[in-house]
Amino acid sequence: MEYSATRNQMSSYIIQAQEEEIKRISLELHEGVGQNLFSILTGLKVVESGIKEDHVKNHLHEMTQLIEKTMQEIRLLSVELYPPALTALGLLPAIKSYIKVYTSTFGIVVELSSIGEEKPILEQNSIAVFRVCQEALTNIAKYADTSNVRIDLKWSNSKLKISIFDFGRGFQIEDLEKNPYSLGIATMKERMLLTGGQCEISSKIGEGTSIEISLPI
């Protein structure tokens, strides 16, 4: 019993330390590298406007385009690492924002609904729920063979319930041990257990996979 409590504390500490480091890198990319690139872009545009020679102007234009692409990639990378919306606006806006990037990355359409009033959640719990949703959606892109996903959030006074359904090819739960993403699923369950919540997975071949997450508020 004592061993299990220590183990939980250690898992929780490792996950939290990892999240803090990821957040630091994400902010550094967004506020540091991203801002510097923006300053370079603005400077180059000023130079470009004052140049008459066509070939130099074209060359500068190519450079500004390259910087724009790099800025966009830095922004996406930063958001992918740690969504700024999570601390600034909360879980629901962070999920909405991630879904936009997800659809434009994998081409999978996600229908999202939220019932009830969004409640404030501890940052370490909301990041756990966010990461579980992120892992579920990544698994769907990798294995589910689907074009549509549905996510429902239900807020009550004491609990947040999230269900994710993928309408995909599904799999035999009994085969989970042999499944390539069983470790990912185990991590999702572990993360939710550490928050005091739960993560349940059910699947039917040819019908799809359902992930039910619950978090006490």
């Binding site: 190519e62 996406l76 990355t105 994998f106 081409g107 999978i108 990544t138 892109a141 074009s147």
Partner: protein, 155 residues
Amino acid sequence: MTEIKGISQVNEVCEGLKKRIGCEFVALALQNEVGPDVRWHYASGNLNDKYKRITVRFGKGIAGKIISSGSPMMLIDFPNDIYGKVTDHPIMLAEKLVSCYAVPIFFNSSPKGVLLVGKREKYTFSEDDQEMVQDAALELEQILQNQILGLGGYV
């Protein structure tokens, strides 16, 4: 503005290439006229319409790397022996491709697009295959250049 899918010459080049190489999938990604986004504007042999919603990320996956480096690339046995994560290759996942060969499409000497051929089995594209893709890319460059100059762009 005209849609790439509606340009019959583009269809002819891509379908001809698909037949000659004996591949299952051909797609064309191009940088949008405004902004840095690169999207798949044309696909043949596709299993679904996910490609229409995918934005190629600069420097990521096969198409993103081609746009950033300007060099051709080949994947022989996806997802084995790939550079980066499986999820960095969304077109391979979306179309269940196992092998592909892709080349850049240049406009004004800069890589602005990608022509990709793919198979849903392990395969090494021969030098002849690679040459055929390169030739098709040159043809497409010419067609698209004329279209853009003549019709004022594409969507």
